[in-house]
Amino acid sequence: MPEEVRQGAKPLRQSGREEMLLPEFDYHEPSTLEEACAVMTALGKCAILLAGGTDLLVRMKKKDLVPDHLVSLGSIDQLKELKVSGRKVQIGALVTVGQIAESERLGDVLPALCQGALNLGSPLVRNLATIGGNIVSARPAADLPPPLMAYGARVILASEKRERTFALEDFFKGPGETVMESGEILTQISLDVPPPHSGAAYLKLGKRKALEISLVNVASFIHLNGPDGVVDSARIVMGAVGPKPLRAFSAERLLAGEKPSDHLFEAAGKAAADESSPIDDFRGSAEYRRTMVSVLTVRTLRSALARARKK
């Protein structure tokens, strides 16, 4: 290799090993939610909650985040409960993405959520990553928020003083930004079991099948007024095409009261694409993303319809 080329070549790793070490922090391990709330209130903004760690520890290694304190939620069993009872589904914030992907009960009542979970990261990440972490990190391309929003999920935030409940779609403010205040902990995700004659589906488009961030993702939910009836209501959520997961309200309005058909779904897909606001970046152009919103919307609606007709 000529000398000048070798000198100009980038080192194999731009940051040395030393820089990949985790910064120092104090570690706290409360064993109850009350204790965790008290610790978070006392430490304020110097502390970050640790759940699965798949996002947080990487950002700490890269020194994007250098908290003085980590407060682990790993010893609070209450946050690990997953309950499907009657018409309610309650998912503790620390339930892992792997548990959701493999849960037969959830696969039965909330199949689009399981599709989202199966598309997140890799098995090695899913076994650590938690549903709460995937929500509070508020990444616009995250896999769980679109299906959760399509199912109308609510999130419960606890702090020392009070408990607050938000519809998930009111929880996100922008990339990495949510309504959470200092001292608050996301404890639970709560959903209603969808009514009969309803169905939902999630699709993710990436450049490969595993360990991939969404180029575009879409979750659609439809509720029919009978087995072969018209659309009673619909919710379509688009990810990675805006600062936060976006509802395609105009597409939803198009569907309401209409008899499902390919023609109708294609019109809804176009309306959803018009409502998305993707950006150009190295993963794909805005134009491509917008076109794919339309394709994924049509496909998820077809799959949601097939599920709605089965139930």
Partner: protein
């Protein structure tokens, strides 16, 4: 539980690695990967990207395959860890059937991904002894290999499944 040391606050943990119990004093910012490699000398677990993308550091934590670079040593307190060294021990006097299958099928080239691949495969086979090829490919989808093109790895895992099938058939 806490004690002061030169490096600030240390935490006492009890951890079982490959069937052996350890009582250790660790820094909060030590990863499970660094604990295994640097403190316990178990260098079979590899450090690749150190950010959860490559799977070279895969171990089983309470039976589940995880990237050990994304787990704090303190979080592994009270848990059971299996590394490639423990897999070999399970094979008794010889290699574990998965290890043998990797050798015999040419599923190892440079070898850096192999411990992680074998642990991901083991997690799958422990749960599902007769997986489909799709299930095998999905199980190792977090483990990157830059040498083999994956085909021989998938074939090696399949021969172990088929071996089990042969054994379970009445003669």
């Amino acid at each position: 539980m806490w004690e002061e040391s030169e490096n600030g606050l240390m935490k006492q943990i009890k951890i079982t690695v490959n069937g052996q119990e350890y009582d250790l004093s660790v820094e909060p910012n030590l990863t499970l990967l660094d604990l295994l490699r640097e403190r316990l000398g178990l260098t079979g677990t590899k450090k690749g990207c150190d950010e959860g993308d490559c799977g070279a550091c895969t171990v089983l934590l309470n039976g589940k395959a995880v990237s050990s670079c994304l787990v704090l040593a303190v979080e592994a307190n009270g848990k059971d860890v299996l590394t490639i060294e423990g897999v070999e021990l399970e094979g008794g006097d010889s290699l574990h059937p998965l290890q043998k299958a990797f050798v015999e099928n040419g599923a190892i080239q440079c070898g850096f991904c192999t411990p992680g691949m074998i642990l991901s495969a083991k997690a799958l086979l422990d749960k599902n002894p007769h997986p489909s090829q799709t299930q095998i490919r999905r199980a190792i989808s977090g483990n990157l290999c830059r040498c083999t093109g994956y085909q021989k790895i998938v074939e090696a895992i399949e021969t172990v499944c088929n071996g089990n099938q042969a054994k379970s058939k009445p003669k």
